[in-house]
Symmetry: C2
Subunit: 248 residues, 2 copies
């Protein structure tokens, strides 16, 4: 049985305020939890799982002895789940540190300004993972990368991508030696650029794009040519198209 206090604690992690206070976040479902257990930079400290899931996974080395593992019924999972259809396993993990800027030279990184939709943010983290981008830098007003909705949208990629939450102008100020590619509707045709080995790809808000300040600091402005009439592309789709052109 889950106590009322436990349920209350787990529910509180739906809010960023409490995720930060307790330094914990949640993840659900066999796929996402499995990726987190396999990953290295995020520590899972509690699992709530059905008997069936535990039978299939208990022997795994990655279930380390320090982890609290609790057998729960489907009914109990329903009480703590954030999904319409609760999954067989629910995990609580330690929030990794997000304030220290990683090494950005010699590699390609993504920097996101004010991406507000958690689903978009999760999809972008998944794109980073597909293209082998290790670092996703989020401006402080982006959706939270560790909100339940974002974590689920990453389909487990959150386990492999290093998230940094810092002001983008600080990053660009510090990283003046690295080329930056700002996605915009009126820059240079992306076909003019050849494959890059190093750089920061800058993606702006779903409705307004990148701020003027960030645009001014960028070394390149890139545009996916519009052959039809849509006013814009979804931010995650634009990220995919840009990675598909600059990284392949």
């Amino acid at each position: 049985m889950l106590s009322r206090a436990q349920i209350k604690y787990i529910h509180s992690l739906r809010l960023k305020k409490y995720r930060q206070q307790y330094c914990r976040f949640t993840a659900e479902g066999a796929k996402v939890v499995d990726e987190l257990l396999k990953g290295h930079h995020i520590r899972i400290d509690s699992l709530f799982a059905t008997e069936e899931w535990l039978e299939g996974n208990m022997s795994l080395e990655r279930l380390n002895p320090k982890m609290s593992i609790k057998l729960v019924s489907e009914q109990e999972l329903k009480q703590i789940s954030n999904l319409d259809t609760p999954q067989a396993v629910f995990a609580i993990g330690e929030l990794p540190s997000v304030h220290q800027l990683p090494k950005l030279s010699g590699r390609i990184s993504l920097a996101l300004e004010t991406i507000q939709d958690p689903g978009n943010l999760g999809t972008i983290i998944r794109i980073a993972d597909w293209f082998g981008i290790e670092n996703v830098i989020c401006s402080p007003d982006c959706a939270d990368a560790f909100s339940p909705k974002t974590v689920q949208s990453t389909m487990g990629s959150i386990a492999r991508i290093r998230i940094t939450e810092v002001s983008l102008d600080e990053v660009l100020e510090k990283m003046k030696d690295i080329s930056t590619y700002a996605a915009t509707l009126n820059g240079n045709d992306i076909r003019e650029f050849s494959k890059i080995k190093e750089g920061i790809i800058l993606i702006g808000n779903e409705g307004h794009g990148l701020s003027e300040k960030i645009m001014q600091m960028a070394t390149h402005r890139i545009t996916i040519p519009r052959l039809g009439k849509a006013e814009s592309l979804n931010a995650a789709v634009a990220t995919g198209v840009i990675c598909g052109r600059l990284m392949l």
Copy 2:
């Protein structure tokens, strides 16, 4: 005042069954409704709008005299809206015919098999519109292109894209002269293909990809090379990356 019968009728259009029975669908918000009013192949027959919206738009030629235009309060919009935050205008449009296969030679089209998420489908229709693709063919088990969620996700692109709902194997059988490009995890590297002028790009289900039957019928199998570790890309993102490589 909206009558109870009117509200009931409008709510019924949330379900495909009633959209088909009445041959109507709904759309909301200044942006989407504006695109529908500007478009040619979808006829809007009723508008429900606030005084403010009407003041700004009543003079538009595109509000034709046959349209029923009703001034409503925000409270009334709330009663009929499908959104958390109702917008200033709500439209009812005629469902266009979706069963006749358009001309596919000499152009690039998208064909979708079992895309089940309405948001993904809407985003793909928006991608088509960005890249100037006129036709999106949906297998009958795709999400409905005219569901409220899909229409909103197209951001108005539904006004310009011709949707066809037919079985994909029939399409491929009939269109044997046209090259088809099946998106898969184990095909030929997309970098081996040059820009195309004609073809059908085939995108499969979010979880399972394209069926074996469709794969067998395709003339080319294309893969976006994976540089990192994500198991897959979101279907809409993959569509964007493929269009960005084959069409630019």
